[in-house]
């Protein structure tokens, strides 16, 4: 397999943070041996889901080359991001990979008109030689998100609704005609009645603009709604990844099962299963320090080996599960095991 048929290829990426003073202190492995890839010619929406502190945002910083991996590599179109050395190469890379952030009101300065950001982006990335042509480029990007330059020109962020501002934020990302958009919790700050329009927008971008999207979220319900594939993160590991229907309809990893069960369903009739009591970790750091599977302390099916060595990746049909329950058998989970 040549490296160039992959748009993005993350190979065993690990990020470690050292916390504390020069002497002592502790090591936090925020991203731990993570591998996944996106295909070049088939745009898709890949979701990274997990609790806060699971490493989602660190991983996204890695993909934006805001951080360098401690170990492992991140390849974009076959090129190792660590080999990007000068500004013009970095600009080329930024042109292809664009972020969309969580809070639309923090993305834009309240003292600056939102269209100024759009023009800046168009001129900085040399998508247009002057302001007149830039206006056309900006308008095109805004049309893609269901807005127009007329609607947003000379408007400050507070004059637009949260949904509109977030759409402007997506439009800004689209100006440089990227191949990949990294959206970090793009809907969590948007009102419920406007949330679906943003979510639908990503779908439309994938189908019409052929843009791949990495959608980072803790909301499994919207993840199921839009994504093609999903990776479930826990304390730096991707514990289960694969097509979203497989992973969320028939989860294999005990953590995915717990996560899926915990999503409250908007159906009062199904209260009973959700009301089953669960145990929560008392303190924050304990799970990072744990050797072996990070879920061992909470796992109902824990075995001795889980506490000793990190579990390996097991390929089961189209998905990869990081769990000892599936190490001997591929396909069906081993029999005689409590479920």
């Amino acid at each position: 397999m040549s490296a160039t048929d992959k748009l993005l290829d993350v190979q065993h990426a690990t990020v470690e943070f050292h916390i504390g003073g020069l002497v002592g202190g502790s090591l936090i492995v925020a991203v731990n041996d993570v591998s996944f890839s996106l295909d070049m010619d088939q745009p898709e929406i890949f979701t990274l889901a997990g609790e806060s502190g699971s490493g989602k945002t660190t991983l996204s910083r890695l993909l934006l080359r805001d951080l360098e991996p401690t170990r492992g590599r991140v390849l974009f179109e076959g090129r190792d991001l660590a080999t990007i050395r000068n500004r013009s190469e970095f600009k080329e890379f930024m042109k292809s990979v664009q972020p969309v952030f969580q809070n639309p009101f923090e993305t834009f300065s309240p003292l600056r008109r939102v269209d100024a950001y759009l023009f800046d982006t168009a001129l900085n990335f040399e998508m247009a030689p002057d302001r007149q042509t830039a206006a056309r480029v900006v308008d095109e990007a805004l049309q893609n998100v269901g807005l127009s330059l007329e609607e947003v020109s000379h408007r400050y962020p507070h004059e637009l609704s949260g949904g509109q501002t977030q759409r402007v934020s997506v439009a800004r990302a689209l100006i440089s005609q990227p191949k990949l958009i990294l959206a970090d919790e793009p809907v969590s700050m948007v009102d419920a009645s406007l949330r679906m329009e943003i979510v639908n927008l990503f779908r439309k971008l994938r189908d019409e603009q052929k843009v791949s999207v990495i959608y980072i979220t803790h909301d499994l319900a919207t993840a199921y709604y839009i994504s093609d594939r999903i990776g479930i993160m826990l304390r730096g590991f991707i514990v289960e990844s694969g097509p979203v229907e497989d992973v969320l309809d028939r989860p294999l990893h005990p953590y995915t099962k717990l996560l899926k069960e915990s999503v409250p369903k908007p159906a009062p009739k199904e209260r009973e299963s959700w009301a089953k009591h669960i145990s929560l970790g008392t303190t924050e750091v304990k799970e990072y320090d744990r050797v072996g599977c990070k879920f061992a302390g909470r796992c109902p099916q824990v075995m001795d080996i889980c506490r000793q060595i990190d579990p390996p990746d097991v390929q089961i049909e189209q998905r990869i599960v990081k769990c000892y329950l599936y190490t001997e058998h591929t396909g069906e989970p081993s029999p005689g095991k409590p479920t």
Binding site: G163, D191, S193, M196, K265, P268, A275, I278, T282
Partner: protein, 330 residues
């Protein structure tokens, strides 16, 4: 008898800057009752007046917020209280924390970061009742947190040592030290993950079942209401759109806004196309005439633009404010 009856509250924020006066009608004519022994959910988008409503109910009214009309009456087993005409001293000494307590969204800002949890417990109890014996008090506090299913070591920890979920549960434990009649929980799980959210909400449910008090749960997350609340009120732009038992809100909503909220919720295992409402929530400084939802409503009629729909009872316990719905029609 109802524990709290709220009658026709109009609470506005009024500011005057450089001679320009601006009135934000955050809560406009809201009436409802809270019964003993129930979990009452309040749902709505940001800036629909949820938090203002809580401020009025808990007697925390400070300028620029002002209550222009209406009443909030509490009926405790021993005495009645008119919340809007109570002296600040009485509110502090007899009501706050003892009868009415409050669980907030960011538990990190509730707990003092440089003091151990037990010290925060001491501070609160000392202010309201006084602590004669600190050793004995530690035992009482230990008993209290253990009864709520928290380990004893949280008392001797600093807030930063605890996980987010544990901190929020400590905040709930603090809110329940005096066994209050009413616990107001304002977005208690919004900043938390689904697994932790489940644990925290289960704790709130358990406490309610244990002490048979009333919980006012405010959150924008409809799925939380579906799993926790007994009755739900849907607010839109400072007014009640619909109020009904949880089952009815989810299975037979009548107000177009409620219908949209319920039908646009994505669910695992179901991928039908979901859409957003057109437009945006209105600006309460200049709310639309008539029904405040009319600009976004798919069934808008002429009458909606001019006349404010009354909140009518369509069947026992189910109230809707919409021109499409007639009184006692079900």
């Amino acid at each position: 008898m109802a524990l709290v009856s709220v009658q026709d509250i109009c609470a506005y924020y009024r500011t005057e800057i450089y001679g320009i006066s601006r009135t934000v009608r955050a809560v406009d004519g809201v009436s409802f009752e809270l019964n003993p022994n129930e979990i009452y959910g309040v749902a709505g988008e940001s800036s629909c007046g949820k938090t203002t409503l809580i401020k009025v109910i808990s007697g925390n009214i400070k300028p620029p917020l002002k209550v222009y009309s209406g009443s909030v009456n509490y009926h405790f087993w021993s005495h009645d209280v008119d919340m809007l005409h109570i002296s600040p001293e009485e509110l502090r000494d007899n009501l706050r924390w003892k009868e009415i307590s409050y669980v907030m969204q960011g538990s990190m800002s509730v707990l003092n970061p440089v003091r151990k949890i037990i010290k925060t417990f001491e501070d609160i109890v000392d202010t309201h009742e006084g602590i004669p014996d600190k050793k004995k008090f530690f035992e009482q506090a230990r008993e209290h947190v253990n009864r709520l299913g928290l380990p004893t070591e949280v008392l001797t920890s600093y807030p930063h040592q605890l996980s987010g979920g544990m901190r929020q549960r400590v905040a709930i434990a603090l809110a329940t030290v005096f066994q209050p009649s009413l616990i107001i929980a304002d977005e208690p799980t919004t900043a938390l993950d689904v697994v932790v959210q489940r644990g925290v909400l289960q704790m709130i449910k358990d406490i309610q079942a244990m002490s048979n008090n009333t919980v006012l749960l405010v959150t924008h997350d409809m799925a939380v209401h579906a799993n926790v609340a007994d009755r739900v009120m849907i607010m839109y732009a400072g007014r009640i759109a619909e109020e009904a038992p949880t089952e009815i809100v989810f299975n037979a909503p009548l107000h177009p806004y409620t219908q949209h909220l319920i039908h646009s919720l994505p669910m695992i295992g179901e991928r039908s196309n979901k859409v957003s409402l057109r437009g945006a929530p209105p600006n309460l400084a200049n709310p639309p005439s008539g029904c405040r939802f009319h600009e976004r409503c798919p069934y808008v009629m002429d009458i909606c633009r001019t006349e404010v729909p009354e909140l009518v009872t369509v069947r026992a316990g189910h109230r809707v404010a919409c021109h499409l719905v007639k009184e006692n029609s079900l």
